[in-house]
C-alpha cells in the first residue's frame, strides 16, 4: 500500500470511529428518514390510484427516498466533522504530518461512506420487514447499497466543500435546510410524468436528485431498468467527481502550508 492509500485508511478508520461514537448523529440519520417514510406511506397511499402511478404500493415507491434523505445526513455529518477539525486546529495537526491534503478529505469521507452503508442496510431491512418487495432481488438490493454508498461519497464531499469554505461545523449544519429543499424539488413523492404543476415538473427534471431516487426506485418497483440505473449511477458519479474536485480546490485555499 502506498503512503497516500495508507494515510486514507488511517484517517478513514478515525472517521468511522468518530461516526460510530456519535449516536446522536447516527440515530437521527436512521430514524428521521424512516419516520418520514411511515408518515408518507400512511398519508399518501391513495396516490397509487392516480393514473400512470407505477406501483400499487406506496411503500415500494417511497422507500427510495429514505436512501436519499439518509445521504444528506451523511453529508452534513461529514461536513460538520471536518468543520470541527478546522475549528479545533486538528486539521493543522494533520497538516504538520506528511499526509497529503486530499488524503485528509478522503479519510474524512470514510465516515460518511460507513454511515451510508449502515443506512442502506437498515433502510432495506426495515422496508422489507414492512412489506416492501425488491423486484430486482438480492442482487438488486446490493446495487441499491452500492448506489447509496456512492451517493454518500458524493454528498459527503459536498459537505466537505462547505466545511472547507466556511471553516465552521455549525455553519455546515445551518446549510442542511438548503440541501433538504433540493429533495422536495425532486420526484421524491410522485413520478415526474404525473406531476401536474409545470414548474415543479421542470424543477424535478433538472434536479439530479430525481435520477438518484429513480434509480433506486426502479430496482424496487420495476426490476432491472438499464436507463434508470445508468442515469442514477451517472449522476452519482458526476456529483462525486465534481464535489471531490471542488473539495480539492477548496482545500488549497484552506490549507496554505508551504
Amino acid at each position: 500500500m502506498n503512503d497516500f492509500a495508507a494515510h486514507v485508511v488511517h484517517l478513514g478508520r478515525r472517521s468511522v470511529l468518530r461516526t460510530l461514537r456519535q449516536p446522536i448523529s447516527v440515530f437521527p440519520s436512521l430514524l428521521f428518514p424512516l419516520i418520514l417514510l411511515a408518515v408518507n406511506v400512511a398519508g399518501l397511499d391513495r396516490a397509487t390510484l392516480l393514473p400512470g402511478f407505477p406501483t400499487d404500493s406506496y411503500l415500494d415507491f417511497a422507500l427510495a427516498f429514505t436512501f436519499m434523505q439518509g445521504t444528506l445526513f451523511a453529508a452534513i455529518n461529514a461536513g460538520t466533522d471536518l468543520g470541527r477539525d478546522i475549528e479545533t486546529g486538528f486539521l493543522n495537526r494533520l497538516a504538520l504530518t506528511p499526509v497529503r491534503g486530499m488524503a485528509m478529505v478522503a479519510g474524512q469521507l470514510a465516515g460518511a461512506v460507513a454511515l451510508g452503508l449502515i443506512q442502506a442496510a437498515v433502510f432495506l431491512s426495515v422496508g422489507v420487514i414492512a412489506g416492501a418487495r425488491i423486484e430486482a432481488g438480492v442482487a438488486g438490493a446490493l446495487v441499491v447499497v452500492a448506489l447509496s454508498v456512492l451517493m454518500a461519497l458524493g454528498f459527503g464531499a459536498i459537505g466537505a466543500v462547505m466545511a472547507l469554505r466556511t471553516g465552521s461545523g455549525e455553519t455546515v449544519q445551518g446549510l442542511f435546510p438548503v440541501l433538504f429543499a433540493l429533495l422536495f424539488l425532486s420526484s421524491m413523492n410522485l413520478p415526474r410524468n404525473i406531476i401536474d404543476i409545470d414548474w415543479f415538473r421542470q424543477a424535478a427534471t433538472y434536479n439530479p436528485v430525481s435520477y438518484l431516487i429513480e434509480a433506486i426506485r426502479s430496482l424496487v418497483i420495476e426490476g432491472w431498468n438499464g436507463q434508470a440505473l445508468a442515469l442514477g449511477f451517472g449522476m452519482a458519479t458526476g456529483i462525486a467527481v465534481l464535489a471531490l474536485a471542488v473539495a480539492a480546490l477548496s482545500l488549497r485555499t484552506r490549507l496554505v502550508r508551504t
Partner: protein
C-alpha cells in the same frame, strides 16, 4: 544563514488583508538545544510567527530556515524535523489518548512493529498511561496539554514549537510541563521555541527571551541580562508615621535615585544590589519606624515596560488573525 542554527529568520513579515502587519520584520537566531522564550501579549504576533516557522502560513516577506531548511521552499523537510503543539490542544474528543498517538505514529510513517512501543513510551513519559484508553473529551486541561506534547514528540523531532503550552493550566500542571520541556532540552538536546504571555514561564524555562510587541522584537537576551539592562532593584519603604515621609526620603536618597513607589511609601532605585541592609540600618539609626519595606527586583515585566512604555500584565490586545 547558517545551518548551525536551529531556527533563523531574517526580516520575517506577515500581512493580513491590505495593511494589518501581524509580524513586521523580525530576525531570529536560535541555537540547537536552546530554549527560546517568545514573550508578548495577546495579538503581539507570537502565534503568527510560529505558524510561519512551522510552514503552516507562508510569510508575506522575509525568509526563515528551520533545521537548515527554508520554510517556503522546503516545507516538507521542515515538517519532518519539527514537532509542534499549537495554541489550544487540537485533539479529537471522541478518540482516546492511545488512538491519537497510534494515528500520529502511523501518519508519520513509523513501522507498524514500532508503533505500539513508541506509543507506550510516550504515554509513560507524559504520565497518561492509566488514562490512555479514555476518550480525550474527559481529560483535564493539563492532561490534554500533556497529550498534545506527546503527539508533537512522536517522530522524535529535533526542534519543538510550543505555542502558549500552559495557558489556562493550574500551577501543578504548568510546573509538570515545564519540567518535561526542560528535560527535553537538557537530556535530549531538543531545541524548544516557546511562546508565552507568562513572565514566570519565560523566566524559569528560557535560556534566552525575545520580547515581541506589535509584530516587532523589542528586546532579546537572557532573562538575567535583560533585567540587568533595564536597571537595579528598587526599595520601597513605608513610614509607620505618615509625618516621617520627608525624613524617609532624605535617608533613602543616600542609597539611590528616587523613583515611583507605593502611594504611602518612599522608593529609590538602589545604586548597588546590596543596598537593602544599608537602608534598614540607616532608618533604624535615624530612629524612623518602618510600617513596611519591599525590595522589588527587576522583572521581565519591567523590561517590557521599559521597552514599550506599558506593562505586559495588562497589555491584552485583540487576538491575532491567524489562520484567517
Amino acid at each position: 544563514m547558517s545551518a548551525a542554527r536551529a531556527i533563523e529568520a531574517d526580516g520575517l513579515v506577515r500581512v493580513f488583508g491590505k495593511s494589518l502587519r501581524a509580524v513586521d520584520g523580525i530576525d531570529l537566531a536560535v541555537a540547537p538545544g536552546e530554549i527560546y522564550g517568545f514573550l508578548g501579549p495577546n495579538g503581539a504576533g507570537k502565534s503568527t510567527t510560529v505558524l510561519m516557522l512551522t510552514t503552516l502560513l507562508p510569510p508575506t516577506a522575509g525568509s526563515a530556515r528551520v533545521a537548515g531548511f527554508d520554510v517556503v521552499r522546503e516545507g516538507a523537510a521542515v515538517r519532518a524535523a519539527i514537532g509542534a503543539a499549537l495554541q489550544e490542544a487540537a485533539l479529537d474528543p471522541l478518540l482516546t489518548g492511545r488512538e491519537h498517538l497510534r494515528l500520529q505514529t502511523a501518519l508519520h510513517g513509523l513501522p507498524r512493529a514500532e508503533r505500539g512501543t513508541r506509543v507506550g513510551e510516550l504515554l509513560e513519559r507524559v504520565g497518561l498511561t492509566e488514562a490512555a484508553d479514555r476518550k480525550v473529551g474527559g481529560y483535564s486541561g493539563g492532561m490534554k496539554r500533556r497529550l498534545d506534547l506527546a503527539l508533537a514528540l512522536v517522530h522524535e523531532p529535533s526542534i519543538l514549537f510550543l505555542d502558549e503550552p500552559t495557558t489556562g493550566l493550574d500551577i501543578q500542571s504548568r510546573s509538570a510541563l515545564w519540567e518535561e520541556v526542560a528535560r527535553l532540552a537538557k537530556d535530549e538536546g531538543v531545541t524548544v521555541f516557546l511562546t508565552t504571555q507568562y513572565l514566570e514561564e519565560a523566566d524559569v524555562l528560557a535560556d534566552r527571551v525575545g520580547i515581541i510587541d506589535h509584530g516587532h522584537i523589542v528586546a532579546e537576551g537572557t532573562p538575567a541580562a535583560l533585567k540587568a539592562e533595564i536597571g537595579r532593584p528598587t526599595v520601597d519603604a513605608e513610614p509607620a508615621n505618615p509625618g516621617d515621609r520627608e525624613a524617609f526620603a532624605r535617608v533613602l536618597a543616600r542609597f539611590g535615585e528616587p523613583t515611583q513607589g507605593s502611594p504611602r511609601g518612599v522608593a529609590v532605585r538602589l545604586a548597588d544590589h546590596d543596598g537593602l541592609a544599608g537602608v534598614v540600618r540607616a532608618l533604624d539609626a535615624e530612629n524612623l519606624p518602618v510600617a513596611n519595606i519591599l525590595l522589588h527586583a527587576p522583572s521581565l515585566d519591567d523590561v517590557f515596560l521599559a521597552k514599550t512604555g506599558r506593562s505586559l500584565e495588562g497589555a491584552v490586545e485583540d487576538p491575532e488573525p491567524v489562520g484567517a
